[in-house]
């Protein structure tokens, strides 16, 4: 019985030892996750500020507003996205994806929004990833945003573009709004094909519904302006060169 008692208590202490290893593993992992989550939150917060800044755009201040937005965006990348580089080496890139994905998506949203306002085109993932290369020193694998986060960010972009379009219509820039409308429709069309193929596609499915709502909000706004505009023309004639569909002064300046 003495031997048994020993073996039992030794098996019990073996268990304790093993569990202190597991505890160490979990603590390390949790701390790393905590750091990644914090970085992600900072990326989110600051990307949101960039988006906010873009929405300050008006007919007359485009250049200044976008310059500031781009400067801020670069700061987000250098100060916060960079924090992810050493954390996401090896399998951690995928293991901790949930922890950083919200931040990265918001960053994508901000980056693609800025780029659209500037160039009217979609910033592609390769370009974004190229811009991240300088963040890594040679000893690390470079941080490369994955397709899924890029697409999820793109889905949210359409919501911001909807707000932008509504704002532009208020500001009289109907053609700009129509350009947005086309662009967003095209993204929606592209994602229609890709969405169901994505990992854990249920998130994306919800985003697709929201995206369709956004597309339709833009379309309805364009419709509204169009039918209202149809009444305008007979009144003032097309000779009016200062023609603006709404032409409100820019309150937001």
């Amino acid at each position: 019985a003495g031997a048994d008692s020993e073996s039992s208590s030794s098996s019990s202490s073996q268990m304790k030892n093993a569990f202190s290893n597991y505890a160490q593993y979990l603590n390390d992992l949790n701390e790393k996750r905590e750091r990644v989550v914090k970085a992600s939150r900072d990326i989110t917060m600051n990307s949101k500020k960039v988006i906010f800044q873009v929405h300050r755009i008006s007919k007359h201040n485009k250049k200044e507003v976008l310059e500031k937005a781009e400067k801020d965006l670069a700061a987000v990348k250098d100060q916060h996205v960079s924090r992810l580089v050493q954390e996401l080496q090896g399998t951690d890139f995928w293991k901790l994806r949930r922890a950083y994905s919200p931040g990265v998506q918001e960053y994508i949203e901000a980056a693609t929004l800025c780029n659209f306002c500037k160039t009217g085109t979609l910033l592609i993932l390769d370009e974004i990833n190229a811009s991240l290369l300088p963040l890594s020193d040679p000893s690390h694998e470079p941080l490369q945003i994955n397709i899924l986060d890029y697409l999820l960010g793109l889905a949210d972009l359409t919501g911001e573009l909807m707000r932008l379009a509504i704002g532009r219509i208020s500001d009289g820039e109907l053609e700009y709004a129509e350009k947005i409308c086309k662009f967003v429709r095209e993204i929606y069309r592209k994602l229609t094909i890709l969405a169901p193929e994505m990992d854990e596609s249920s998130d994306m499915k919800m985003k697709m519904d929201t995206m369709l709502q956004s597309v339709m909000k833009i379309e309805n706004a364009c419709f509204s302006v169009h039918v209202r505009g149809s009444e305008y023309i007979p009144l003032v004639g097309s000779a009016d060169s200062s023609y603006s569909l709404i032409g409100l002064p820019d309150f937001e300046q």
Partner: protein, 229 residues
């Protein structure tokens, strides 16, 4: 243009990973069938068949499992670094595997199957394709859920010493788990459930003890569940 090209590339990429996922899911389904067979054999333990007999059939499936896991490992080798991208596709099955292996191990030795031992049994290798620690821990929680029923049936079959042993084991296991700093996640929830197992076993031990049925083995001098076999 580059836009079209990007989305075209994406489609290929997603199709590829979709195929990979499907291949993994197919193996996972086979793991599921195998564990169901094992589970069904192990259920005989509640009918107090002799443990060696019960274990024999279940043990025969371990080789099958080993093979299935090596197939997943092989698939994952095609996409280095993406173990955790597809992890969700086999993790629930893996947790069941751990729970069964740990139950068998406990029936045989009266001790806890450690993480390293579980990997060994499945011929896994932490550096390449290992057993995720959290999956291991969740599997252990599942195993704990089986114990109250086991104790009840053992007592009915006349083994009055069983509650004492199981209580000792579960108490130690529960204390070990308390060393872990759990986040508010699935593992935490499963662990929280373990306290009900503990409580139930305490009650069974109480029922036996108060009727003077328990042998007077001391809790400290526990000799392990294996003795009974």
């Amino acid at each position: 243009d580059k836009l079209e090209k990007q989305f075209e590339d994406f489609r290929h990429h997603l199709e590829d990973s979709g195929n990979l996922r499907e291949r993994i899911r197919a193996v996972a389904t086979e793991i599921d069938s195998t564990t169901r067979l094992m589970h069904s054999s192990l259920l005989l333990v509640h009918q107090t068949r002799p443990i060696p007999e019960v274990l024999e059939k279940a043990k025969g499936q371990i080789d099958v499992l080993r093979d299935l896991f090596s197939r997943i490992a092989e698939i994952i080798r095609e996409c280095p670094g993406q173990y955790y991208r597809f992890h969700g596709d086999w993790r629930s099955e893996t947790q069941t595997v751990v729970s069964l292996l740990a139950f068998m191990h406990w029936l045989e030795t009266g001790t806890l199957l450690l993480h390293a031992e579980a990997q060994e049994k499945l011929a896994l290798n932490s550096s390449e394709f290992g057993l995720d620690v959290e999956d291991y821990l969740i599997g252990i929680c599942f195993m704990s859920n089986e114990l109250p029923r086991y104790v009840v049936n053992q007592v009915t079959a006349g083994d009055y010493d069983c509650p004492r042993k199981v209580l000792k084991f579960l108490t130690d296991l529960h204390a070990s788990f308390r060393m872990l700093n759990l986040r508010n996640d699935f593992l935490r929830k499963k662990f929280d459930g373990m306290k009900y197992d503990l409580r139930r076993v305490e009650e069974v031990y109480y029922d036996v003890k108060i009727r003077g049925l328990a042998t007077n083995g001391e809790l400290d001098g526990d000799k392990g569940i294996k003795d009974q076999t």
